[in-house]
Symmetry: C2
Subunit: 101 residues, 2 copies
Amino acid sequence: MEPHEPDLTAVPVTTVLAALADDVRLQIVRALAEGGESACGSFDFGVSKATRSHHLKVLREAGLTRTRAAGTSRLVRLRRDEVDKLYPGLLDAVLSQRPPA
Amino acid sequence: MEPHEPDLTAVPVTTVLAALADDVRLQIVRALAEGGESACGSFDFGVSKATRSHHLKVLREAGLTRTRAAGTSRLVRLRRDEVDKLYPGLLDAVLSQRPPA
DNA sequence: GACGATGTTCGATAGTTGTCGAACAAGGGT
DNA sequence: ACCCTTGTTCGACAACTATCGAACATCGTC
């Protein structure tokens, strides 16, 4: 089943915001923004792999990330250009708040 | 009971984003951004007044609005300056998506 | 081909949230 | 004083969501 990666313009703002309105997903987005393309398994934020997979799906279906297969892994990357173009300042604003020290 | 209007810096980003991730609340924010300070009753978006009151509470407790009593009404206004200062571009980005024509 | 690693999907469950009507509170006007 | 208007609060209920373990799928390797 090919991953469902919608055109960002087709996704309601509320869906994009809801996707970002979760701590685990925000940590994933932060990691992607700083570390670039990463394997799913690199996001170990204290949740099971089932939950992690779920969060990555939410981000993907919100149009925020792209996923591609790479051997036995899957590489995820942030669709930064597209997001910044459609919602200038959004990611910067969201990522500006530093994680709890 | 005095309205609970927290310092925006004390509110987690996820809470701010969650507050904006709802259609009704987004319509309220849009109305406030365009029309300035308005009475609660002016936000008739097809929900009951109980629901409307709930949404205004969510926005207020996310640090996005302020409310003051004015006779029998209550006037709500967007804390635009503070939001723009802490999350530059966020409101612009969110408000940029036009409501369904 | 069997095995191990990496992810996804399924079913279940607990918690959160949007919604409503009804009851309540407070102001203003007649 | 009474009423009407404007909002808030209180249950209640349905829908959604975050979470997990277990089962499944897929790829590379031995």
